[in-house]
């Protein structure tokens, strides 16, 4: 698999097959660099072509999965349009979502990290130990140190898991606060998104 014939179609096919198989067995996304190194592929452009070729192949109607780039890695996932059928087939009623308190807490951590529980509780005006704990258990946030103030409280930051969960490549993909205000200015409907969702 280390030969160097970029125009050898058979080699390209075998490389694609290899990438498909490692993504298939791996639970987590795999960094492109790792694959690149293993294939001894020196040209990033060649590798990009390989990936685009794969992506194109998955577009075929007869394929149920697709190649996704998230958390800085490559991952195989099912196609979004099959979601309802998957739910029906496995008789899964609802996909569990984060609660509003968890989402609020996560928003604060994402934009203010590293941040302490006291700061989170203060911003929400609600004691936020509960959601912090639940986000720690879900690995969406992590302890990232201690703040150098009296009491040395723990600091929290978002994780790789956070990026994966929300389908981000890195934190810079989150819109800035200014962009966010613009995004929501037109469709100002405060109670649309919330309600009927209690801890």
């Amino acid at each position: 698999m280390t030969e160097d014939h970029p125009f050898n179609l058979d080699l390209i096919d075998r490389q694609i097959a290899f990438i498909e198989s490692i993504l298939f067995v791996s639970k987590e996304p795999i960094e492109p660099e790792k694959i690149l190194n293993y294939l001894n592929c020196k040209n990033i452009g060649d590798f990009e072509k390989l990936i685009s070729r794969m992506e194109a192949a998955y577009l075929d109607n007869g394929r149920g999965i697709l190649l996704k780039r998230s958390g800085g890695g490559l991952q195989l996932v099912t196609k979004p349009e099959i979601h309802e059928h998957l739910k029906d087939f496995f008789t899964i009623k609802t996909s569990s979502k984060l609660t509003i308190p968890s989402l609020e807490t996560l928003s604060i951590v994402a934009y203010r990290q590293p941040v302490t529980i006291a700061e989170i509780s203060d911003l929400r005006s609600v004691n936020s130990i509960g959601p912090v704990k639940s986000l720690l258990q879900k690995k969406l946030i992590r302890i990232s140190g201690r703040k150098k103030v009296p009491g040395l409280p723990l600091l929290y930051s978002t994780t790789q898991e956070f990026l994966l969960y929300f389908g981000l490549n890195d934190l810079s993909e989150l819109p800035s606060l200014e962009e966010l205000t613009e995004m929501f200015e037109e469709k100002e409907q405060p109670s649309l998104f919330k309600r009927n969702n209690q801890e």
């Binding site: 979502k97 929400r124 609600v126 258990q137 929501f184 919330k194």
Partner: protein, 242 residues
């Protein structure tokens, strides 16, 4: 407030005092930057008095904000004493509200992103066996490590309980029985446990016993996700920490 408004409101639930305040500001078509705190104070108190949409476990937080509102209102009625350079409580509250408004926006954005990614299923999403699972070192967080240590210590605090079975179900007996079961098992699967019971009466008494135990902080009940089985874990005070 007319009746239909009250009816609408009763279906609402507020995540915290700021959520309620923002709701009232929008309801009264005010601008956050130009809020007349004194006007929404009485409405806020009305909601609080009628427990409308107030999460009981957060009552304290709602009351805290109520006192701030009342303080601001009283200040506005009294002549200002001295020339205070520092931020007034009103400005501070408005600043907090502006920040919270942003948080809600981010939350909505995250919710939309969550909805998108929930459509994509990863491998082995179905059937997960947590019990005998191995962890990649990179997967383990300091939080988990601490959590595991806490559990080890708690397990150590085992007390040998003896219990007698009786057909005459009382809450006291049930509590002892469940505590006994929790001594020999790390946790109790509530669904399986109720399946093993003889009668509806016993199930009900068990359920009340459980509520009582949760209230007394003897146990906690956990559910991984909606519709999942509920597991009951023992909580024991740790003398090491006292």
């Amino acid at each position: 407030m007319n009746e239909t408004e009250i009816y609408q409101v009763q279906t609402e639930s507020f995540e915290g005092p700021l959520d309620l305040l923002l709701y009232l500001i929008r309801k009264n078509k005010m601008n956050i930057l130009d809020v007349r705190i004194s006007e929404i104070t009485s409405e806020y108190l009305y909601y609080l008095q009628n427990c409308q949409g107030i999460n009981p476990s957060q009552e304290g937080d709602f009351l805290m904000t109520a006192s701030t509102l009342i303080y601001i209102k009283s200040r506005s009625l009294l002549p200002r004493a001295g020339s205070s350079q520092e931020e007034s409580p009103e400005d501070k509250l408005i600043h907090t509200l502006i920040e919270y408004d942003k948080i809600q926006k981010i939350s909505r954005l995250l919710r939309e992103m969550e909805n998108d990614t929930l459509l994509l299923w990863k491998r082995e999403e179905i059937s997960e066996h947590f019990e005998n699972r191995e962890f990649d070192i990179e997967e383990v967080s300091t939080f988990q490590l601490a959590e595991i240590f806490l559990n080890v210590i708690k397990k150590r605090e085992k007390e040998e309980y003896l219990y007698l079975e009786s057909k005459n179900y009382t809450i006291e007996h049930k509590i002892e029985e469940i505590l006994g079961l929790l001594e020999s098992n790390r946790y109790l699967n509530l669904f399986k446990y109720t399946e093993s019971l003889d009668s509806i009466e016993e199930i009900m008494v068990s359920f009340f016993a459980l509520l009582e135990m949760i209230k007394q902080h003897l146990v906690m009940a956990l559910q991984k996700k909606n519709f999942d089985s509920i597991s009951v874990w023992k909580k024991s005070p740790d003398p090491q920490l006292q």
